[in-house]
């Protein structure tokens, strides 16, 4: 399938996001030999730096520098891409909150098929693109295929592809003029930052993370004692924050904080991708969970199937003795 592949590059603060190289890898895996074009949208002088950085990975970069694009508003990006992309194009997105906002409507406007939140690719057969998705909160996987003869919008789960090595000497094409006069019926106002909370877990090296498996709120005291004995910081998964047992600043995950610790103790955490998505780098992960089939045991280096209520006090006591 000879087709033009485009990748929408997320960026912030003058730097491209890790997703850029992941998308490159995805493009090269799905369409070997293709020459993907990177799409860089934004505003201001720092956009040039992003374009240049991306040009070291992608053979061609289309840059759109307009004030209206200062904040990535899917309602503006969609009509722009609809206008500038050729028929039958393949558009690759990161399945971020922007990708979720942009992708479905974009596929409709382009008349293309839509494959969201892809975690793996099987290949292309004629105009059929075959991928792997997950359903039912990750409990099962599915082989899915899309008829891409009229084009395809495909979004990838962040982290599902390793970053490709950047080895290109791409050209940057300034298409800013095409983006002039964009208006939309949804207007960005501002971003309200999540509360900082009392501690910045993103800076910590040793984290003790607690999930739904801890049972009741009162049991958190056992986790606090362990963390104190270890000299570590407590963090958690989303259900703990939803229940208001810890504040939002302690949540690790795609809708919470991104952490890069050396050691990560996952207690009573199942290991859903939304949580692991917040864990970057290569921490030494120790997982404790009552369920031997919990997905966390795939991600961890060391695992224990145990009842937290029994293990935690014992562990805390032995650590205190060892110090």
């Amino acid at each position: 399938m000879a087709t033009q592949v485009f990748a929408l590059i997320p960026h912030a603060g003058g730097k491209a996001d890790d997703a850029a190289l992941e998308l490159l890898n995805a493009a090269q895996t799905l369409f070997p030999g293709c020459a993907p074009t990177a799409l860089v949208l934004g505003s201001g002088p720092s956009l040039g730096a992003v374009a240049t950085e991306v040009a070291a990975a992608f053979p061609e970069v289309w840059s759109f520098n307009q004030e209206s694009l200062a904040y990535p508003n899917a309602e503006l990006i969609r009509p722009l891409l609809t206008k500038v992309l050729p028929a039958g194009a393949v558009v690759m997105l990161s399945h971020s909150t922007l990708g979720i906002d942009l992708g479905p409507g974009l596929s409709v406007k382009l008349g293309a098929a839509y494959l969201p939140d892809v975690v793996g690719v099987d290949g292309v057969e004629g105009s059929l693109v075959k991928v792997v998705r997950q359903e039912f909160a990750g409990q099962v996987s599915a082989h899915v295929q899309a008829d891409a003869s009229k084009g395809l919008v495909i979004s990838f789960r962040p982290g599902s592809f390793a970053p490709a090595t950047a080895s290109a000497a791409g050209t940057v094409v300034d298409k800013s003029a095409e983006a002039a006069g964009l208006t939309a019926r949804r207007r960005f106002l501002e971003v309200v930052q999540a509360e900082a909370g009392d501690v910045d877990i993103t800076r910590e090296d040793v984290l003790v993370s607690v999930g739904r498996g801890i049972g009741e709120q009162d049991n958190l005291s056992l986790v606090d004692e362990l963390a104190e004995a270890m000299g570590a910081t407590v963090c958690c998964s989303r259900p703990i924050v939803d229940a208001k047992w810890l504040d939002k600043g302690r949540q690790v995950g795609t809708s919470g904080q991104t952490v890069k610790p050396k050691i990560y103790l996952a207690l009573g955490i199942s290991g859903a991708f939304q949580h692991l998505g917040g864990l970057k780098g290569s921490p030494f992960i120790v997982a404790v969970n009552k369920n031997p089939k919990a997905p966390i045991f795939q991600a961890a280096q060391v695992g224990v199937v145990a009842d937290l209520m029994e293990l935690l006090p014992e562990l805390t006591e032995q650590i205190q003795k060892a110090k």
Partner: protein, 684 residues
């Protein structure tokens, strides 16, 4: 009859015959009081119906026991004895007071039958009564004003302290006693009317007044009479305005009190289960939705605080104090239906008004409050009715919505698969078979396991131990398996009546289909539900009764404990103990084990047992509290000198085991279920 040297009926004040005044005061007083009583009855006439006119014999006995004999009062010994003196004194003096009213305008008046010997005896009795009551009043005032027991305290957010009201009333009672005794004493001092009963107030006044001239005594006589008359009617009209309304209402409140513990009132008396769909509104949302008995309860609260003092939720500082459920309810009724003024007609929702959602969800229905109340005030039905109202309006905390939804869909609060309900049966052990209805088996006895014991990893051991005990005791039994649904005991008590009815229907059908002639369960909540909430089932027993019966017949043999050094204590589960009066069977079962040393948690056992924290849906609710109930309980066990707590309920066991960890008592305290203990020692 002697001629009296003076009397109120013959006195004159500034030329006007005093008898006119002393006729006027009672007439005005009585009229005012009658008006107030009519006004106080007003909301009761509009309230929901209540079925309290049955069982006249049983109710009469309760009146004699709880009201007349003040049976519950000595549970707080000092205050109880003082109140008994006060109460009996009141009864005795009541006749005197009645006589006194007439003496105001009839010079010679005695009550019919009190003319001769009886009258003499009575006079002596009343003098001692007045003296005893007076002494009690002094002690009571000291307690209120100086000692200030904690249970009388009023939290800041609930308004002013009630000590002023208490002291005022004690002052009025004291005034009545002193004035009556002065009236009597002045007459005695005149020398013509007989002798004083020695060492009584009247005797004291007689000596105080001796030597005064007759006219002076006459003036004292009229004055003390007037003070008594005015004080009496003032006090009478004060009664319906506050906590002393119980003086009038307690007799009725006790007569109409709950006969059957463990039961929950129907959504509406007079509407049976089939008619529930027709009701436009469920539960209590405004005060007029309560039944007349519950409104009478509000009127009758004596503000003694014994309920809250024993309430486990209150002890761990959840936002619930039963005493204030009554006081706030009473004040709300007074405000909406004032004695002088017009009734409020606009509906005022109670939740978000005088009560908060968390306040009502905090109750574990343990029944300690109802067990304690000397006036027979009920709380559980009110809490359940308020919860029914909240459920009807969709006001259910998110933490309870999931288990309720799971109960509806899967018949258990965790949403686990029905087909796994009998998985525990596979682990009973070599040589033990568990018959299951789902396999088509049949047996005489049905072992109803209920959700906690079926699905929880730890509690499955109770089911397995029970199965072994029943086998060793030669009981032919089966379990329902996947046809069994949650008994719905807490579903009902948390206000989801229709879901309860649905579970009840399904379980009843499954149980009757087995043809079993008797039901045994190891779960007190299931026991209470099947025995008291369900109808048309074969007789229900708790497994401890089966064991106790076997012990008493000599059929069960026990091996001595391997480790006799431990000290055991038995924690009475609320739904075996208070709600079903089963205190002895578990103790017989435990004491049958040779070498077992058992202690009681003195003052906190049997009907004063302290709730573990609650079961069923209560496990899912996230209360605001300073401490867990279970932690307080395990510390009580420790203080009693025990290092093992025996429970007979899966919820008690889970709460105790968690509490041991949270309290940091691992290694010092352990918890074990009665069935596990017995099974360990029972010989085959």
């Amino acid at each position: 009859m002697h001629a009296l040297p003076f009397s109120p009926a013959t006195a004159s004040l500034a030329g006007v015959p005093a008898r006119l005044l002393f006729l006027l005061i009672p007439l005005v007083g009585a009229a005012c009081f009658a008006w107030m009583m009519v006004r106080r009855m007003a909301p009761l006439m509009k309230a929901a119906p209540d079925a309290r006119f049955d069982n006249i014999g049983e109710r009469t006995i309760l009146v004699l026991k709880v009201w007349l004999a003040q049976w519950r009062h000595p549970r707080y010994m000092l205050a109880g004895v003082l109140h008994i003196v006060l109460f009996l004194g009141f009864l005795v003096l009541g006749l005197r007071s009645f006589q006194l009213i007439f003496l105001g305008f009839m010079e010679h008046f005695t009550l019919p039958g009190f003319g001769g010997e009886l009258g003499v005896v009575y006079n002596i009795a009343k003098d001692y009564a007045a003296t005893a009551v007076f002494l009690s009043v002094v002690v009571l005032a000291y307690r209120r004003g100086v000692v200030r027991p904690a249970r009388y305290a009023v939290p800041k957010e609930l308004g002013k302290d009630h000590t002023g009201e208490a002291i005022l009333v004690l002052g009025l009672i004291g005034t009545l006693l002193l004035s009556e005794s002065a009236f009597e004493g002045s007459l005695l001092a005149a020398g013509t009317h007989g002798t004083a009963t020695p060492y009584t107030l009247a005797w004291g006044f007689q000596h105080l007044f001796s030597g005064l001239s007759i006219p002076a005594l006459g003036r004292i006589n009229v004055a003390s009479y007037a003070i008594h008359d005015l004080t009496f009617f003032y006090f009478l009209c004060l009664l319906p305005m506050g906590k002393h309304f119980h003086v009038i209402t307690s007799l009725f409140n006790v007569y109409f009190m709950r006969l059957k513990p463990g039961h929950v009132k129907p959504v509406k008396y007079g509407v049976d289960d089939k008619g529930l769909d027709e009701l436009t509104s469920f539960g209590v949302k405004k005060i007029e939705d309560f039944t007349w008995k519950h409104q009478l309860d509000f009127y009758s609260c004596a503000d003694c605080g014994r309920c809250s003092d024993n309430c486990p939720a209150n002890r761990v500082k959840r936002p619930l104090s039963p005493r204030f459920i009554s006081i706030k309810g009473r004040d709300h009724l007074y405000q909406r239906y004032p004695v002088f003024g017009t009734d409020k007609t606009e509906a005022e929702p109670l939740i978000g008004g005088i009560y908060s959602e968390d306040e009502i969800w905090s109750c574990t229905t343990c029944g300690a409050c109802e067990e304690e109340c000397p006036i027979g005030i009920e709380y559980i039905d009110k809490i359940v009715d308020l919860r029914r109202g909240m459920v009807d309006e969709g006001m259910v905390p998110q933490s309870l919505q999931k288990p309720l939804s799971a109960l509806e869909k899967r018949g258990n609060p965790w949403g686990k698969l029905e087909k796994k309900r009998a998985d525990w049966a596979a682990g009973v052990g070599e040589g033990f078979e568990v018959k299951l209805a789902e396999k088509g088996d049949e047996a005489e006895t049905l072992y109803f396991v209920d959700s906690m014991t079926s699905y929880d990893d730890r509690m499955q051991k109770i089911a397995q131990a029970t199965a072994r005990i029943l086998t060793k005791a030669d009981v032919d039994f089966l379990a329902l398996g996947k046809e069994e649904k949650d008994s719905g005991h807490e579903v009902r008590r948390y206000g989801e009546e229709m879901l309860f009815q649905s579970l009840k229907e399904q379980n009843t059908e499954a149980i009757l289909e087995t043809g079993a002639k008797r039901i045994v369960t190891s779960d007190p909540h299931a026991y209470n539900a099947l025995k008291n909430d369900y109808a048309g089932l074969p007789p229900v027993e708790h497994v401890s009764e089966v064991i106790a019966a076997g012990v008493e017949k000599g059929k069960l043999k026990f091996s001595p404990l391997a480790d006799p050094s431990k000290t055991y204590t038995y924690h009475d589960p609320c739904y075996l103990g208070r709600h079903n009066g089963m205190y002895d069977a578990p103790r017989v079962a435990i004491d049958a084990i040779p070498g077992l040393k058992r202690v009681e948690m003195a003052g906190a056992c049997k009907d004063r047992s302290f709730c573990c924290g609650g079961g069923g849906l209560g496990l899912f609710y996230e209360p605001e509290e300073e401490q867990r109930m279970g932690v307080l309980r395990v510390n009580m066990a420790k203080e009693a000198g025990a290092n093992v707590i025996i429970t007979a309920c899966p919820f008690c066991l889970t709460n105790m085991e968690d509490a041991i960890k949270v309290a940091g008592l691992e290694g010092q305290m352990e918890a074990i279920d009665l069935c596990e203990l017995v099974d360990g020692q029972l010989q085959h």
